[in-house]
Symmetry: D2
Subunit: 334 residues, 4 copies
């Protein structure tokens, strides 16, 4: 950690600060220049409150140099970690292809899609039961009934299920869900993350629309700090000035997350883009960038979709995409 | 609502769509051009699912022209609405000056600050009991104890209290809080908003870091749709590429929110800026832009602050600012 | 084009507007609703000034639905266009691999790199002679001498040269340059674009840091409107709140640009990322997304680079990347 | 400057780097920690190329702590500097109110507006002669003729004129312009800035849509490094995800620019907002934030405006705003 002091900071106050830092078991080095004085702080500063120090009158700026995330940090865990989901694993060399509708709508709908995506090569089934909708007047999902329909589809097809939780009181309801998804809007719903840290279920955390790569890792840290190591990271696009696509897929997040963390990284090209016709290009790009998997929206009849139809592929489109993905993955082998 | 069709859309599919729209009690007008065909849809489209229509093969783009928010919409409620808080009101010509520490730390701390900000002209006391922290290792607030300390300070000073809720299970705990704050990170925690719609307590909703002005109004709509009209909107800065300030205060949001909605609008210059030395300029600017109030961080000893000290004013600085604010407000009178 | 009128717009003013539109040879359709009245305008509106109409008292909002770009628009030119560069072509099925140093530094440096990148499979040589530097105190490039060194390297290796122009007075100086690059900071230097429209040389236009996909196409339109059809589009990252990478590569721009326009699209992963270690992942992703080529920084000794060393690959790294790119391109074949 | 080294950096390479730094007359301090090693560099690093160091294999990150701008830096010039324009001055306690049409359209138009804005209290006249237009098909301004009309209006009213330059070959043409404006799109047109540094005319530099506050100061530095100290900074809104307003006025830029630099700071609320009805609120806010002046679009008949009518005030609206501005300025006096 680097602390830049204001010009003319009083010696007495500087000593007061450095003494305090030393008491925190940190090593301190003072560099005094003509126009700035800098304190270099060496050691584990993850428990030190930056803002408290920034609040000091003599401090101009505090720059954290070592990452505040620990358990998610590759520095302390050099090898890729894999998350077990039933008989499968996510990460660690495996490729995970999650597909399904935005919303679960009916037994027929979810079952038909589950069968088709499995046939096309999907390894897990996604489907929204509880839907985060910007408008209180929009369809909010089939909720508990939706979860039941997903479990029936799982029983029929053997595909593990991935679905979003929006309420920390639903954790028991989700006890039998294979992968619990935390949506972008809840990435910093810290109470929810903390509760998920008490379970041992796989948690897929989507990056928030305005959250940095490091903030995503801090949210993973919340779950892991609670004792649950089974975290999967998901890049799903960030919000920028570009409006042609719904969001801007930050493809760089894939190699960067894999550099900074040992956790598996998957990409959601459907929400990133919002336009079904461009989902294949983004899916192929994500695999070429090194993603451990994809989560893709597939609908049997987009024209009837109750939500997000615009970004859903038809099963035949998904099947064709899956074939192309396989070729890219092969080309990626060492 | 405007629906732009793809080139060469089949007549049969176009008719199928227009018939469906008419069945939704909407008026439809078809405009066929050489390179595009457009369907103009007139009527209340707030219940129509855009994405469902965008999913149609023949549809290129759907543009919603009327706002999807109703109860928060000034169109349907031309006069300013005021929110009652104890004997005070927020909005409707009143000016609300909320001040206090980022976090409640001790009985002495909160009481001392409460007395000082009241003396300086604050009309309400703010203080964090439950703190949203990016890192699980940072101080999380005194929680329930913090609420008690706030109530003691209220008893002593008569200042209504404003504090943040992070968990929908805490609503009973907050039953006696005068203004419940929804933080930026929870602006789209829809389950929390829905629960708050069941109360009749004043709710102050902060704009999310990546949320548009209209999304803020949709979050207000969630609370109001539940029957709670007591919503206060708060601009607190958005996330942009500029890093000198913690966030970028979107000052334009003040006049725009007051144009689009009848709800009171206040500004939080402390979180928007993150630098105490620039808080006064932003506070004065907010009042000149037409804000109904301000929420400002004040700490008795920023150098000891456990969180966000960097953005807290000292009581004497706040007192000086309050005097300048009064002069600007006077200059704003017609 | 859709014109949304204010509530209670006077009939007389509405008629005045619709008459004016009809005089512009546009078809007009009026849709009057309870809360809004909309004018649908059909025809070529590319010459109509939106702002002029938005300025009207009765107008609430103007939404352009057809794209304002014509010659660059795929709608009017369905087939991919290819740009001829010497014996090569860019786009139209070809793959262009441009490589070279950020700055030309010496005869030995540029020649050594040219030989190595050609050996590795590069099809063109890049190198900066005139450098856009944020600081007036930084190295500004070898300028005219740099152009000469590039031409010598071309003579030796046969590689066409790609280099940036910053000043419209330099067009004669660039007469013998194979591909003239317009940098991100000059994407909307309209006088420069207009001058380049008077030549027939291939022009590679980089997307500006804050420019939309459609604005990039409008800049291409400037060059093409002048009679120069030889435009190559380049995505090089946009500026967002994420600071880990220098910019955020907008990978979606590749399929979107190819949908909206017939022009070739290449990607610059080096500037998008700013970190050499992540350039390969972004390069592979760009090809998988459908890019027609790449422009990559390669330096013989990054530790000695006078500029942008952080994002330059060493020749052996480039050679290894080129092999991987070839495998991905093969996997992309139908 | 702080240099963070990679883990396991070789001693030999570290020494090589520190020796090099010392040869640049910089003081160096090495701090070796368990997980990171940091080199603190003290002294004038404005001439040191960050990227060159970042390119080193052993370097993980370089953080510049002292600002790279010198002549514009308040640290080296604590007092406000004022720019002389005819008998007026900009900054240094004066308030500058620049008003006029987006484009000069005719002798009658510019003269009528000039008379009216002067009567309302404007101190300078603005008007576009050369217009930067996104589309090559839009009106490009009256160009040289427009400059003549501005000079006639100046002769008639005595108001100094402010107008935008887009082409470095026009500097002679602008020799008699009182304040030469560099538009947002040209903020990093470094060749243009360098040429303006050779003149001694006042230069008003608008912040680019995606440029940081510090980049704006670096562009000022380009002009000042050439020997022209007469630079005026202008905040005019940045591009963010919010689309309701054309851009997002970064009101914080006003106090921050005045903290970092001694140069005068003015605000353009018209372009920042794009909506005439919200220009007054932003203008009042800018003055309350400490701006030294405003540049506001005023048109005699917005419904006839050839460009940007949507953001232009009518003279009577401007006159009313000027009265309100005067009251706010009075309230701002110590």
């Amino acid at each position: 950690m680097i602390i830049k002091l204001k010009q003319h900071a009083a010696r007495k106050q500087i000593d007061h600060l450095t003494d305090w830092l030393v008491r925190q078991n940190l090593r301190v080095q003072l560099s005094e220049g003509e126009f700035e004085t800098i304190i270099g702080v060496i050691g584990d500063t993850s428990h030190v409150d930056l803002h408290g120090i920034e609040g000091l009158e003599i401090v101009d700026q505090v720059i954290r140099i070592s990452e505040p995330f620990k358990t998610a940090n590759r520095k302390f865990h050099p090898d890729d970690s894999a998350v077990r989901v039933g008989t499968q694993q996510v990460g660690g060399g495996a490729f995970t292809l999650i597909a399904g509708p935005c919303s679960v709508e009916s037994p027929e709908q979810i079952l038909e899609i589950a069968r088709k995506v499995r046939a096309a090569g999907a390894t897990m089934l996604r489907g929204g039961a509880f839907k985060p909708r910007t408008s209180p007047y929009d369809f909010q999902g089939l909720q508990a009934e939706g979860l039941e329909l997903l479990k029936q589809a799982r029983a029929e097809t053997g595909l593990p299920i991935v679905t979003e939780i929006m309420n920390l009181n639903h954790i028991e309801l989700f006890a039998d869900v294979d992968v619990i998804q935390v949506g972008a809007r809840n990435m910093q719903n810290f109470d929810l993350l903390r509760e998920l840290g008490r379970t041992r279920q796989p948690v897929l955390i989507k990056r928030g629309l305005a959250n940095t790569i490091k903030e995503l890792l801090m949210s993973a840290e919340y779950v892991m700090a609670g004792g649950n190591p089974n975290v999967i990271l998901c890049e799903r696009g960030i919000r920028t000035f570009e409006t042609y696509t719904r969001n801007t897929l930050d493809i760089s997040a894939v190699p960067v997350l894999k550099e900074l963390s040992h956790l598996p990284v998957i990409v959601d090209p459907s929400h990133a883009c919002g336009l079904a016709r461009h989902v294949p290009a983004l899916a192929l790009a994500s695999v070429a960038a090194g993603a451990d998997g994809l989560i893709i929206e597939v609908h049997n009849a987009p024209e009837k979709a109750l939500s997000d139809g615009a970004q859903s592929l038809r099963p035949e489109q998904f099947e064709q995409l899956a074939r192309r993905l396989a070729r890219i993955r092969e080309a990626m082998l060492p």
